[in-house]
Amino acid sequence: MSSAEPILRVSDLEVSFATDEGLVRAVDGVTFELAAGEVLAVVGESGCGKSVTAMTLLGLTRSANARFAGAAYYGDTELLGASDAELQQIRGAEIAMVFQDSASSLNPVQRVGRQIAEQIQAHEKVTDAQARERAIELLERVGIPNARKRVDAYPFEMSGGMRQRVMIALALSCDPSVLIADEPTTALDVTIQAQILERFRELVAQMGASVILVTHDLGVVTDIADRIAVMYAGRIVEQGALDEIFYDPQHPYTWGLLGSIPRLDRPRPKRLPTIPGLPPSLADRPQGCHLRPRCPHEFDQCAKTPPLVARVPGAAAHLDRCWLSCDRKRELREIEPGVIGLRGKHEVELTKGGAGS
């Protein structure tokens, strides 16, 4: 991890949509940075705004009823205000995206090889034959057997796992600096998920790309993320290194997330702890801290929106959005010790009152 300039800087990003039913604030003030070569996982439940954030970076949420505020910098280019021409150059070649639903994200009447070649030819002057060769090579790299034949297949002729590999191949085809993966394995079986993630991680490490991984699955995160940003109701509520988040979570919502992961190696609790209540409607969010109506630890100050700042002594990059002091948080935190990733990599011991090693 170099200490050079961050490759992506997002500050106070706000994305809203004007609809018949009112102003829908999908993203309500998001700030983060992506360093070169790092994997940032953006975690949260459906509707928290993580997908919209990801897609806004590529300008894919622009429409007549969309309103933006804040800024997102890729190097020197400001993405929110970028012209169509600038965006076109960045998309695919500098910042590429892997979408969630490979079945609907690939053109159903076009062969997969052609779809990959199309992206290559949009950014580089190569012939059809050359592009096709590159496509075959990419398909091999992502682990598709018999790539030379498969390159002419239609999406509906492939299984879900293979299609997702095609999506990854597509995203990597022009060697982008930043890869945004929006729930890349959610639509797949668990066993396939593991394989694909593994391959994905290898490729990303090989190519030295930076990754924003959007997911709601914490298990996926422990396997490949360097840093985590937890989102709730359009805001980042906690942000920090993988170990910091898992060993010393600071925000009540994060506690809820971690606490609700079922454990195979411990006796089954009577009830799986959940966070009571429902997330607020996108059009009508509470004033101040968004979690307030559901938080058992809320108090008067919570009526004012807590800023995202570092409150843990000694951890300048571990930020959270909760007014409680760090000590108080450690007192109140009651989580089942331990979190296990998809392949049992991280075993975390958490006790009441103290941070882990």
């Binding site: 007549a64 695919g92 995206m97 053109n107």
Partner: protein, 315 residues
């Protein structure tokens, strides 16, 4: 693909057979009167009626009648008792006129519909879209025979901008051929332009929200490339089927009204005139051939559709 084609063609043959039976039933079985008398037209003599009865086998069982009727239709032995014209010859003579009208109109409506549909989709919600959609709705609401008659009267007869009906064969004078057909083509296209442009607009608006279009943008393609290569192409696919279906239907029937109004002496007009005179044999033949044509065109369209959308080949 080959199996698909064979299956479709076999299906087609079955349908053609069913059509011949159905047509036969419509004319000679369902109606509640003496078929020989119906065929004979107005004021026939008893002798004539008897002759018809024997010739067509109306004194014999139904399946014999069917065979005899089909024989007459397909061997050119069909005569109209009202006009004494050989029906098959007349149809062959009139067919080129009907095709000129139908094909020209089909090309015209497709071209305008695609342009209009795409344009209104891209400018959806804005004034241009609303205005053009309003025009399309008016176009759909105007019966072709009415607007055709008015066009013929005002643009043809009164102000002499276009010829007042009539037909000039293509082989004789291509320019005059087109000149005489411009009004009929326009009248016939109006309805379809209205319908198709709105279907295309709807398809495009749906497709534009599809995920793979988002992927195409994320690839770095220009908006224009996205529109043409992904959105339009995929939006047009269902329209191709419709176009094929309607083309068959137009040739088979819709052209009829236009021909009558502009006096093009096509197959449709022949049918219309026969109807007015309650002359059955020509109507029988034209209905059957019309249906045949529709089925053949549909089968061809199905096959073309399968080449465009490979998912269909599985059905």
């Amino acid at each position: 693909m080959k199996r698909f084609v064979i299956r479709r063609i076999l299906g087609m043959i079955l349908v053609l057979f069913a059509i011949s039976i159905a047509t036969f039933c419509i004319f000679n079985v369902i109606p509640n009167s003496d078929p020989a008398q119906r065929l004979a037209g107005r004021n026939p003599t008893k002798g004539q009626i008897e002759a018809i009865r024997r010739q067509w086998g109306f004194d014999k069982p139904v399946y014999v009648q069917y065979v005899k009727t089909m024989e007459k239709v397909f061997t050119g032995d069909l005569i109209s008792y009202v006009s004494q014209i050989e029906v098959d010859k007349e149809i062959l003579q009139d067919a080129p006129r009907t095709f000129s009208l139908a094909i020209g109109a089909a090309i015209m409506w497709m071209a305008f519909a695609v342009a209009l549909g795409l344009y209104t989709a891209v400018r959806a919600g804005r004034f241009a879209d609303r205005f053009l959609t309003a025009l399309a709705l008016i176009g759909i609401s105007m019966p072709v025979f009415w607007i055709g008659a008015l066009m013929s009267y005002y643009l043809g007869f009164k102000w002499n901008i276009f010829p007042n009906g009539g037909y000039v064969p293509l082989t004789e004078d291509p320019l005059q051929w087109a000149y005489h057909l411009i009004m009929p083509w326009t009248a016939l296209s109006l309805l379809f332009i209205g319908v198709y442009s709105r279907i295309l607009r709807s398809n495009v608006l749906d497709t534009i929200n599809d995920d793979y279009v988002r992927t195409a943008r994320a690839k770095g393609l220009s908006e224009r490339q996205v529109l043409l290569r992904h959105v339009l192409r995929n939006s047009l696919i269902p329209i191709v089927t419709l176009w094929g279906l309607d083309f068959g239907a137009v040739v088979g029937g819709g052209a009829l009204l236009t021909e009558t109004v502009f006096d093009l002496q096509g197959v449709g007009q022949y049918a219309a005139e026969s109807v007015a005179q309650l002359d059955v044999p020509p109507v029988l033949a034209i209905v059957m051939f019309g249906a045949f044509f529709v089925v053949v065109v549909n089968t061809v369209v199905d096959i073309v559709y399968a080449t465009l959308d490979p998912r269909i080949r599985l059905t």
